[in-house]
Symmetry: C2
Subunit: 486 residues, 2 copies
């Protein structure tokens, strides 16, 4: 029904520069044999905000290497993480499915929040990415790729859910927890799980020597892997622990950012230093590809797992931050570079989401699609090449949980064209925004648009049914508590 | 609709000996204050078959102490485990909920079975008992009870899901795995997870000295706890690792059972020796209660987490074994003793299930019910005391998984009165049995009773909806594989 209200978006309408010139070259290279096979480097940053990069408009953070990626390829203005917190987005990238379909809708291991404080009971959710999922890494390994994972994993509490059991030949530093004990060697530390009060002793995820900085160490390992794989097709997932807390930048960089007057700082100097270190690592990876003459033969994808952390950066003009379903929590940088296939400096305004990378990578590398697996993703190749239609109906989010980030509440979201509807699971309240006119989500126009609101809500509910999303239920303990004191 | 077809069962109709004489005594003792509060000892055996006890008819296994429990209290003929494998039943005992409602429907950590071999995709399931659940131990601890857990836990892969985080003051030997490495000290050993191929190094769950036998060590710890708690109300959950594999009996006992000719053995001599050791442990616990004059003030519950293991014992006249939804997989011994409250030597034919223990314990101890928590259990007090009605409609099972036990297939079950309907999730086939006439489930009478079959199926489906059971879906990888070879 609602599809009549909105124009189905076509790649050619949205992407500023389409790349018809590349079609022949792509064909001549071929996809499926020997040394001409396309490598893939997927760089995933943790908690990097949408406008924390020069190429997305930041005047504060210095990110020349990442900006160069944007110049050399395509920048998506409306890139989205599949969730406003980390683990579900990671699961979506690896599986090609919405977190709701996976039943992996909350960060891990989140334990329980106060049992009596909240009006609703959180939905049931898994605490690991099931081994049944054929991850993008498994698909590529099966097709003959060398696969490596480096950095933050955060998708399972037991060792047999680690990257080496999910398709990666090599796992460097990927384990159960979502942040290192420290960014300085030996990267250890203690952490109190906020929901259980238990203190977790974080062991060193990686070797090194005194003074080593984790971002640099991962870059070094990434370079090593690329060098050792130069004669074979490879898939590298460089998943930085940065720029997640603990906020610990390299001292010399921190000093530089402290020079900016506090009022003019977009984020904390330590955070800024971490962003710059991540940028350095991207420079190292790209220079290694160039030096080995692999750059033209490598699809590089750069993204983040959720919006910027409230205590670290400023996400304006977007509303809110990590942990919230407003744009500040879910809109993230998405850049792709693939010389000869993607027009340099192009900008794409089509909404895309974490689930899309999997089928995109398969199509780019000439590996057969796995439609039974990446059910909720769409190959972005038509957008990248300007060739073919890209006709998605809408994007969806399902966050039936609580967290302690500002402006967060349990909610479901549909983005359909320029419209975004947010359903508050506690109150049933509906918020409708027109993102084209109101990127900051300041004007809730649900009351002015009752029919559209009802239609979008119905569509959101149909989607929830279709992916078998687990619902929130009323918390009976909350009700009981309320009775006693009065 | 269907409730018209069957008589709702009333306690007084089913329990052979009702215990009206006890009503006054019960009242005079009171339930809620000081030293007269009722203690609870819940003894849970792993994989003990329905007729593996003298009091259930075995002529082979020697279980005088457990038989004495039956003589001193009530024996349920139609006691059921909430699942045909262990972890879900354990979750049901602790939470008072059906495994399907918990979304904890498979043993842990079961990993994945062959992705292409099976027609259906297993339902999504949790790999730990969520901390949000207010377990029976938490409820009792809140009410001032000392709580202790000993033995097999098997409800979570991380330490913060262990008994000490689920309401138990004391945890002896309870951890993530479901069987010890060895039953002899230091109880260590290696185990290959059948689904992942990973080898798990099982550390010693308990101290001891050379030659110590795990069943005895747990009995010793149970005695210690009872002695130290004699002046306070206590809840002890003695959850034996036995009689689960590895089948390792004490040598002297094994020798005795080996004397029986093989053809006359109901099970393996090692298994029989383990059953007898469990019986010894029950004797030790009961003698400790007697010595401390706590017996009259203690409700003892004895049960098993699923039917007998095919390679260990013979479950006939029941069909099949552990892992199957036939009676041999889910019908288990259930005994309760509480002098002065339960008529000695009584037999109860009312179907009861693991979920029922939680509300039963709360009522017996005078602790307020938690209807928001033990949603799927019913207090058995009317059956125990002969006082009041016990009107349950039906019992249900949901096993949307595969395992390697004989006669197992993914299935749902409803038992309504004497009728039992099994729905095969792969094929949709329906099996209907009248358990009163056909305990061995030999005659599928579904075709002769189409209306009853349809009604029971509809009722089963309504129940699945009501508990938000996760469904099996077709396995698209299975279909794809089938196409290729032909």
């Amino acid at each position: 029904m609602l599809s009549h209200l909105f124009h189905v978006s076509l790649a050619v309408l949205f992407c500023v520069a389409s790349v018809e010139a590349c079609a022949d070259e792509k064909l001549s290279e071929g996809h499926a044999n020997g040394k001409t096979r396309t490598n893939v480097v997927l760089i995933l940053i943790d908690d990097l905000g949408w406008n924390d990069l020069g190429c997305y408009g930041s005047k504060y953070y210095r990110t020349p290497n990442i900006d160069a990626l944007a110049k050399g390829g395509v920048r998506f203005t409306d890139g989205y993480a599949a969730c406003n917190v980390c683990s579900p987005t990671r699961a979506a990238i690896l599986s090609g499915k919405y977190p709701a379909r996976l039943l992996l809708t909350q960060w891990l291991p989140s334990g329980r929040w106060d049992a009596t404080k909240y009006r609703m009971r959180e939905a049931r959710y898994l605490s690991n990415l099931p081994l049944e999922e054929i991850t993008v890494a498994e698909a590529m390994r099966e097709a003959g790729y060398r696969t490596a994972f480096m950095g933050k994993w955060h998708l399972g509490t037991e060792t047999y859910y680690y990257p080496e059991h999910q398709g990666f030949d090599l796992n460097v530093a990927g384990r159960d927890y979502g942040a290192p004990g420290s960014y300085f060697y030996p990267f250890e530390g203690k952490w109190r799980i906020p929901t259980t009060g238990k203190v977790l002793e974080k062991k060193s995820p990686l070797n090194g020597k005194a003074g080593d900085y984790l971002v640099d160490r991962l870059a070094e390992e990434a370079e090593k892997f690329i060098v050792s794989s130069k004669d074979e097709p490879f898939f590298l997932m460089l998943s930085h622990y940065a720029v997640h807390s603990p906020l610990q930048g390299k001292p010399d960089k921190v000093k530089e950012y402290e020079k900016t007057p506090t009022k003019k700082q977009q984020g904390k100097p330590h955070y800024a230093a971490m962003v710059e270190s991540v940028d350095d690592s991207v420079g190292r990876v790209m220079r290694t590809l160039q030096r080995l003459k692999l750059e033209r033969n490598t699809l590089v994808i750069f993204t983040s797992d959720n919006g910027g952390f409230a205590k670290a950066t400023d996400n304006s003009p977007l509303r809110a931050n990590k942990g919230s379903n407003y744009e500040g929590g879910i809109r993230v940088p998405v850049l792709m570079q693939w010389p000869g296939h993607i027009e340099p400096g192009s900008i794409c305004r089509e909404p895309v989401i974490s689930n899309d990378f999997y089928p995109t990578i398969l199509e780019a590398t000439g590996i057969e699609a796995k439609p039974f697996q990446h059910l909720d993703g769409m190959s972005l190749m038509p957008l990248l090449s300007g060739d073919g239609e890209f006709a998605r109906d809408a994007l969806y989010w399902h966050y039936p949980h609580y967290n302690q980030h500002p402006q967060s509440f349990p909610s479901g979201v549909i983005r359909d064209g320029d419209w975004k509807l947010i359903e508050n699971f506690e109150t049933g309240d509906l918020q409708l925004y027109n993102l084209a006119k109101d990127l900051g989500e300041n004007q809730n126009v649900a009351q002015q648009n009752p029919r559209l609101t009802a239609n979008l809500l119905a569509k959101l509910k149909r989607w929830r049914n279709s992916v078998n999303a687990d619902p929130m239920l009323k918390n009976p303990q909350y009700q009981i508590k309320k009775k006693t004191p009065k």
